[in-house]
């Protein structure tokens, strides 16, 4: 039995030996907001936060999350109120097919926890391993900047 915190709730879940966190989240806990794009730690789509740090959940053995706090895309909004990043991604047109978006937003959320006002270069470096094939990268950069502003002003 694996015990961990997922989106603020204590969770106990049975996992197979070697099972990855993404599979546990998606197929055992039904948190399908976390997507698997390559399953080889290459595309960044499966990014979730582990104790606030971005990790590639497709390649992280679930056992390593024992006793720790996992945040997924489902845990970002406060009830009905979207997180400023979610709001900005919608408004700036950064969402196209949408498959990579949970990974983009979670990676950006970790960045904004670290830096309240990242410039474009910092955003690029933070998101460099999170691929988007619709390639709305300029809109993603605009969205992260807009979210940073909105977080600052409240």
């Amino acid at each position: 039995m694996l015990k961990l915190w997922v989106n603020g709730e204590a969770v106990e879940v049975e996992v197979a030996p070697g099972e990855m966190l993404a599979d546990v989240l998606r197929y055992r806990l039904g948190l399908t907001g976390t997507k698997i794009g390559c399953n080889e730690a290459e595309c960044g789509t499966c990014t979730v936060l582990l104790d606030g740090e971005p990790v590639l959940s497709c390649s992280l053995p679930a056992a390593k999350a024992a006793g720790r706090k996992v945040t997924t895309i489902e845990g970002l909004a406060q009830g009905e109120r979207l997180h400023p990043l979610q709001e900005a991604f919608v408004k700036q047109g950064a969402v196209q097919c949408g498959f990579c978006i949970p990974g983009q937003i979670m990676t950006a959320a970790a960045l904004l926890e670290r830096e309240s006002d990242p410039d474009e270069e910092v955003i690029r470096q933070a998101l460099k391993d999170t691929l988007c094939r619709c390639a709305g990268y300029p809109s993603i950069i605009r969205a992260v900047r807009a979210a940073a502003r909105s977080l600052k002003t409240g």
């Binding site: 998606r26 197929y27 039904g30 948190l31 399908t32 907001g33 976390t34 997507k35 698997i36 794009g37 390559c38 399953n39 080889e40 290459e42 595309c43 789509t45 997924t72 895309i73 489902e74 970002l76 909004a77 979207l82 990043l85 979610q86 991604f89 919608v90 408004k91 047109g93 969402v95 196209q96 097919c97 949408g98 498959f99 990579c100 978006i101 949970p102 937003i105 955003i123 690029r124 470096q125 998101l127 460099k128 391993d129 999170t130 691929l131 988007c132 094939r133 619709c134 390639a135 709305g136 990268y137 300029p138 809109s139 993603i140 950069i141």
Partner: protein, 757 residues
């Protein structure tokens, strides 16, 4: 129209609520997997599935004999076996030979390893030029030539006789991978009524339905395809992937079956962008007037036809560029090989031929001592021009405006310097910058005589809302928003009152394939006209009630105004229902008729045009190329949703950048080397240049509000704009994509370093 509107599907996509195929679960779900041949060309001699069947947790193992209906599928030619049988031929590494359904995915994977398959290897056909040699091994018994495509205009010999300068060059483009972020996934299940439902993110739900039905020997109405969200398509989700396999396994087991590709399988199996060899011969007068253009194209269509003939037809008809050329001869050989099949990929062949002809135009300009922009302007198609297929362009040709506006912006950003001369970066003598420019055109719609139609249904409800239904696919391009906007406009409803339901063969009428940049135009028109019919029906009801002519009813923001009364639309709908009238309509819209290639006349009902200029910085020591800025002008007829347009431009430029500099799907002797995502270098956010969009609107009369396609044109001229810039910066002409950094460094070293001016 033309106002920035956030897409209605975006909120679910940022909260994690959005459901793609793999996000669905059903009680008793089994996991299906296919055994891939792994050899490029062979006879399957023996297949033993006994051990796999005996593995605990395995519920079914199927081989070719278990297919109840037709063995083959295919969008045009049914030449692609769902499973290769014993004694039959494997034609590429991704051919499936057996299927397993098991309680868990790991068990299915384990079972695949227990299947014994023996092959008798055959000699491999690995490129399209080899494939055309008389002694080449045959991929299909019918021969290796899928299609010889010809374009003829004027008298090519007469044309070259008039030419004062002739350029003759050969270019190569590699196989390319869509690399949509969502790997293919299909879930099939039987219903209580004995039908089969297939959940899949597909670009052509009705074609899926028909292909599944044929293989399962069912009438099409026994199959329902339910479209899920699609995590990127780019043309790569038009052919069958796991749909038939999932359905076969569900039929055999009576349980729901999910067939999810891992990335490796996705890379191996689905059709790619055609690798090409393109020879371009241009004849020109000293003043820059084109008089003759001859092209010869070889396209690697891989093991199966897919959309290969159509893709290479588009490559061929666009191979002499968006130019007025009196004498044209183009020949294309679309060839079968033992490589993964090639099919639709954003640009549909035009990406490749645009790189060739736009490189040639720059080389020609240099030969003539002429400004490359001026050479293009002089020959650019305009209203009144006749294309190389004999089509008289009567409207909506914004190419000259695209050229003018991009040139003006490029010169402004160059601050008075010649943008095509190399500039050494101050303080960094190893690094030089220069601009390059290219133009393009791309058809909207299927064209070539293919019937091009879309159906849409619009229904009003008593709560004052409307629903739009069509099978057309949302693959990220923003169709939901476009259709919502069109219905809202026609019904005078606030946007949030309009819902859009897509891609369900039971609930939505056929919108046709999501391909060829056609959905805004074709399905957009179907929605516009269906909305119009519904609106008129409402007007008729109210006109009778209030005894006014139907023209006397006005619609404003969800209200019908008649005779001094303001009737909420929902109430009007209730009145209709009380009278037994249906507040809904289905409209089957037929796009203007087109003509087959070779018959003259209108091969396409609309074309989009574009010009792009790219500024690159090249490190002369390492050969590293960085794209700094891209100016992209697109004539889209009329903008419907600027936010969607922005996404198409940004994404298109980035895909063209990858095509130019980083991406290559490597296959050697039929074996896939690029079998993991890590081996496919697609651009990340760090390579993103500043993208400066310029919107050009030359409306097309029949398009909705004047709109034509944007999805492909936005990507097409980027590659040659970049490679032309590389030439201007370094003097090295790129004739083979992508630009290999080491190769470029060596070529630069072989030349004298360009001098700053």
């Amino acid at each position: 129209m033309g106002h920035v509107v956030p897409r209605p599907d975006a909120v679910a996509k940022v909260t994690g609520a959005a459901r793609f195929a793999d996000d669905y679960d059903f009680p008793g779900l089994l996991h299906g997997r296919a055994l891939r041949a792994g050899v490029p060309h062979a006879i399957l001699k023996r297949l033993d599935v006994a051990k796999a069947k005996d593995l605990p947790g395995v519920v079914a193992v199927l081989t070719a004999e278990d297919i109840p209906g037709e063995r083959n599928h295919g969008l045009v030619i049914h030449d692609w076996p769902a499973l290769v049988g014993v004694g039959e031929k494997v034609r590429y590494v991704g051919d499936a030979v057996a299927l397993v359904a098991a309680e868990r995915r790991e068990i299915a994977t384990q079972a695949l390893e227990l299947i014994e398959a023996e092959y008798e290897p055959l000699p491999v056909v690995s490129d399209p030029v080899q494939a055309r040699q008389p002694d080449a091994p045959l991929v299909h018994e019918s021969g290796n030539l899928l299609k010889h495509i010809k374009v003829r205009k004027g008298d090519i010999e007469e044309g070259f006789a008039q030419a004062e300068v002739i350029l003759d060059e050969v270019y190569h483009t590699p196989t390319m991978e869509h690399a949509f972020m969502e790997p293919e996934c299909s879930i099939a299940r039987l219903t209580a009524e004995g039908r089969i439902e297939v959940y899949v993110g597909s670009q052509i739900p009705y074609a899926d339905r028909d292909q599944i039905a044929r293989c399962l020997a069912l009438p099409p109405e026994k199959v329902r395809v339910i479209g899920t969200l699609i995590g990127g398509g780019f043309g790569g989700k038009e052919d069958i992937a796991g749909q038939i396999h999932a359905a076969l396994l569900a039929q055999a087991t009576g349980r729901p079956v999910k067939v999810l590709y891992d990335r490796h399988e996705s890379l191996l199996v689905h059709p790619k962008r055609h690798a090409t060899q393109i020879r371009v011969r241009l004849g020109v007068k000293r003043d820059g007037t084109l008089v003759a253009a001859q092209t010869e194209l070889y396209g690697d269509s891989g093991a199966y036809a897919s959309l290969g003939e159509k893709v290479m037809t588009r490559a061929t008809t666009h191979s002499t560029g968006p130019y007025i050329v009196p004498h044209v001869k183009a020949d294309c050989y679309a060839m079968y090989t033992n490589n993964p099949p090639s099919g639709a990929f954003r640009g549909f062949g035009v990406t490749q031929s645009c790189f060739a002809v736009e490189s040639a135009m720059d080389q020609l300009a240099e030969r003539l001592g002429m400004d490359p922009v001026e050479l293009r302007r002089k020959n650019a198609l305009r209203v009144g021009s006749v294309t190389n297929t004999g089509q008289l362009l009567t409207e909506s040709v914004g190419l000259l405006e695209c050229i003018d506006r991009v040139e003006a912006e490029m010169r402004r950003l160059s601050g008075g310097r010649d943008p095509f001369k190399p500039q050494v970066v101050p303080g960094a003598p190893n690094r030089v910058r220069a601009w390059g420019l290219a133009v393009a055109f791309k058809n909207t719609g299927l064209g070539g005589g293919a019937p091009d139609k879309a159906s849409a249904e619009v229904e009003l409800f008593t709560d004052g809302t409307a629903e739009v239904r069509t099978s057309s696919a949302e693959i990220g391009q923003g169709l939901v928003a476009v259709l919502q906007m069109i219905a809202a406009e026609e019904l005078s409803l606030p946007l949030e009152k309009v819902r859009v339901l897509l891609s369900d063969t039971d609930l939505t009428p056929d919108g046709g394939p999501t391909t060829a940049s056609r959905q805004t135009y074709v399905t957009g028109n179907a929605v516009r006209l269906a909305s119009d019919v519904v609106r008129q029906a409402v007007a008729t009801t109210l006109a009778e009630k209030y005894d006014v002519p139907p023209e006397g009813v006005r619609f404003v923001e969800g209200l019908a105004q008649v005779n001094g009364h303001s009737v909420p639309l929902g109430e009007a709908v209730a009145m209709m229902k009380a009278e037994g009238r249906e507040p809904k309509a289905t409209y089957e819209y037929w796009a203007p008729k087109t003509q087959p290639l070779g018959t003259g006349g209108d091969m396409h009902f609309a074309y989009s045009f574009a010009t792009q200029a790219a500024e690159v910085e090249v490190d002369l020591e390492t050969g590293e190329v960085r794209v700094l800025r891209v100016i992209a002008a697109n004539d889209v007829g009329r903008v419907i949703n600027p936010l969607g347009l922005q996404g198409q431009i940004e994404g298109g430029v980035m895909m063209g950048l990858g095509n130019a500099l980083t991406e290559e799907f490597i296959v050697e002797e039929g074996r896939v080397i690029t079998d993991r995502l890590a081996r496919y270098r697609m651009p990340s956010i760090v390579l993103t240049p500043q993208i400066i969009p310029i919107v050009v609107e030359h409306p097309t009369g029949e398009g909705p509000y004047g709109a034509k396609g944007i999805g492909e044109i936005s990507s097409i001229p980027t590659t040659p704009a970049i490679t032309n810039a590389v030439y201007h910066a370094t003097g090295v002409r790129v004739k083979r994509l992508p630009v290999d950094q080491d190769w470029l460094a060596r070529e630069i070293a072989r030349r004298e370093r360009p001098q700053d001016v």
